[in-house]
Amino acid sequence: MIKKKICLIGSYAVGKTSLVRRFVHSIFSDKYHSTIGVKVDQKTIIVDGEEITLLIWDIHGEDEYQKIQPSYLKGSSGFFLVIDGTRAMTKDVAFKLYDLVIEKTGEMPCEVLINKYDLKDSWAMYKKDINEISKIIKPPFFTSAKTGENVEEAFNSLARAML
């Protein structure tokens, strides 16, 4: 059986935890986020006929008061970078985090998720932002924790890239 550690990172309140909640097996309380800054969930998927168990380290969001612990990134085989589609500044945080990850762990598979896609009224990601993300990192998935849109797809894509 193949097991992989992946990380879920992004700015504060971009909806990382809600994004995975519906898709993963969880036994730990959310309070670990505020205490040790990380919570591990599990998801098993099948990619190209191979079963792969993902241990998802949902790392507490970065803001000006709390930095993510770099040691949590160690040993990851891939990561999700989550951006809040309604807050433009979360994109800049994402670029910063991306650099941090590459610096700490080296190049590895990554998927960018622009979340809260269901909140189209307050949408703040424009074409130039998308282009910038696509150019610097890679073309993003537009996801919604509310509708579940594109979440499974993002998991499958990252898993395939890691194998």
């Binding site: 550690k5 591990v40 949590y72």
Partner: protein
């Protein structure tokens, strides 16, 4: 060319001795027979030396020896079996005796635990806490036990191998492993400066997690109880050994855990447990004391049950003797008794006897159908209830004939004779043995009336008014007498005798005495006494002074017989 020949010649000249020796040596090496002879000579010394300097030789010999043994056994196992027999025999015996010993120990322990005072206490605790008895025994007699061992990859926190003791859930081990690693990282980042001493122990409720951190792998054990400190050394040694065995696999780990399956054996060696030593003699004493106590208790219970049953059957025997009660069926049902049958409404209820047999009345249910008993006792009971006989009369029944004894007012007999005769079970009645109380009344009245004297003045037959009260008394007594006579079905004749005194002549006195009697007759007739019941006679001169100038009343009984 000639120049070379010269050199050869020179060589032979100078080195002839060395060359012949060299040739000899070459011969020894080139010919296998010769060479092996030479090697055989030095081999024992060579092995001895190699063994004393390092264990390289024994390591390199292992595959050869294994192959050799395999080949030998697959070809003909007998020589190997023969060779091993002297070793295997005792080894097998020892192993069997050990197994039996441990079996006896576990049986002893079970008996001890189930029968000792402590065992009973634990059973009670199991009952109260809703835990299984086995859990309580384990918790109480365990010094420590390893529940789970996690073999974790240091870099990724991924679980490489996981072994658990029986009954422990395993499906969340991957997440637990990663989370443990996350907590390790958190502690390392937050509190540890040089990364030297990482989190070694985590306490979670009754459980402890001991973590042995290595450069490439972490061993985490979940423990119950109080493990000894030397277990940490065992843990460290195991982790070192695993690092050695799986060095390349740990370095090149890519998420495929299959390569770590062989680690299971080493991890299983860590699944140890230790029990508290037990004080034997005391345990046995309490064990036997408990057995005896339980036996006494059981005997007492059986005896109590038997006594109860015996009492109930005695009770039923007695109930069967109650007149008007017929028991058709009695049984013990669960903890209650059921009594079924027929009961005369006038019969005594069997429940009234329960107290005498010390039977709890709430435990007995009666199911009686009513019926009229023709038993004599019940007939008499019914008779008493229906006609309320005077206490002075008593009855007996013989062949359906009710015989009465004693005394009774005739009035009661007359009123109730018909009712009694029509009662079930009574064919005829016989009151011949009864003295009727009215008889007395009649006798008394006759005496009283006979003592009444109605007096007249000298020569007079007219009644003096002074005698009216006397006459009234007579009248009342006569009324009572006649009335009582009616009850007794008896008639009376009232005889009035008139008397005179001796003065004057005899014929006048006869006339006078007759007129006096007539006078009373007509007076009584006017007061309501029937005339034809009265007869009068003038008796003339009374010889007795007491009777002179008087009218005397005599009652004559007209017997019906």
């Amino acid at each position: 060319m000639g120049h070379e020949d010269d050199i050869t010649k020179l060589k032979n000249l100078i080195l002839s001795k060395e060359l012949s020796e060299l040739k000899e040596l070459k011969e020894k090496i080139d010919k296998p027979h010769n060479f092996s002879k030479q090697v055989a000579g030095v081999l024992p010394e060579a092995f001895k030396r190699a063994n004393s300097e390092s264990d390289g030789i024994s390591k390199s010999m292992v595959p050869t020896i294994e192959k050799t043994i395999l080949k030998s056994v697959s070809g003909n196992p007998k020589p190997m079996a023969d060779a091993l027999f002297p070793i295997m025999g005792p080894a097998i015996r020892k192993s069997i005796s050990e197994a039996l010993k441990s079996l006896f120990q576990s049986i002893n322990k079970t008996i001890e635990n189930s029968l000792s005072w402590q065992g009973l206490k634990w059973r009670l605790e199991a009952l109260v806490t809703q835990k299984s008895y086995a859990e309580i025994v384990l918790a109480k007699s365990l010094v420590f036990r390893v529940r789970e061992v996690f073999f974790i990859h240091t870099d990724t926190g991924l679980l490489l191998k996981h072994v658990v003791s029986e009954g422990v859930k395993t499906d969340e081990a991957d997440m637990v492993s990663s989370m443990l690693k996350a907590i390790q990282d958190f502690v390392a980042d937050s509190f540890v400066k040089n990364g030297e001493s990482l989190l070694g122990t985590v306490e979670v409720g009754d459980l402890q997690i001991w973590i042995e951190q290595g450069p490439k792998a972490i061993l985490a054990t979940v423990l119950e109880g109080h493990p000894p400190e030397k277990f940490r050394i065992k843990l460290r040694e195991a982790n070192e050994s695993l690092h050695m065995s799986f060095s390349p696999e740990l370095s090149e780990f890519n998420g495929d855990t299959v390569v770590f399956d062989p680690a299971e054996e080493e991890l299983n060696d860590l699944m140890v447990s230790q029990f508290k030593p037990r004080k034997k003699s005391k345990g046995y004493f309490w064990g036997w004391a408990s057995i005896i106590f339980i036996l006494i208790l059981i005997t007492a219970l059986i005896y109590a049950g038997y006594r109860k049953k015996a009492r109930f059957s005695q009770y039923i025997t007695t109930v069967k003797q109650i007149p008007g009660v017929i028991i058709t069926h009695s049984e013990k049902h669960n903890r209650n008794y059921i009594v079924e049958g027929l009961k005369d409404p006038d019969a005594e209820h069997p429940a009234s006897l329960l107290g005498a047999f010390k039977i709890d009345s709430t435990k007995v249910r009666y199911n009686f159908k009513p019926y009229l008993s023709t038993g004599n006792d019940l007939i008499l009971k019914r008779l008493h209830k229906q006609v309320d006989p005077p206490s002075t009369i008593s009855f007996s029944i013989s062949d359906g004939v009710l015989m009465a004894r004693g005394s009774s007012p005739m009035k009661w007999v007359n009123e109730n004779r018909g009712i009694i005769k029509s009662m079930p079970g009574i064919k005829d009645v016989d009151f011949s043995g009864v003295f009727y109380e009215e008889e007395n009344t009649v006798k008394e009245l006759i005496t009283e009336i006979a003592s009444i004297r109605i007096s007249f003045e000298v020569g007079q037959w007219q009644l003096n008014s002074k005698e009216y009260a006397n006459l009234d008394e007579l009248k009342a007594k006569l009324d009572t007498l006649l009335k009582t006579g009616e009850v007794l079905n008896e008639e009376f004749t009232i005889r009035l005798e008139g008397y005179s005194d001796p003065t004057g002549d005899a014929s006048y006195n006869a006339y006078l005495s007759s007129r006096r009697a007539e006078q009373i007759k007509s007076r009584l007739a006017r007061m309501g006494i029937s005339e034809n019941k009265i007869e009068v006679e003038g008796m003339g001169i009374a010889a007795d002074v007491e009777q002179q100038r008087k009218v005397i009343v005599k009652i004559i009984r007209n017997s019906n017989d």
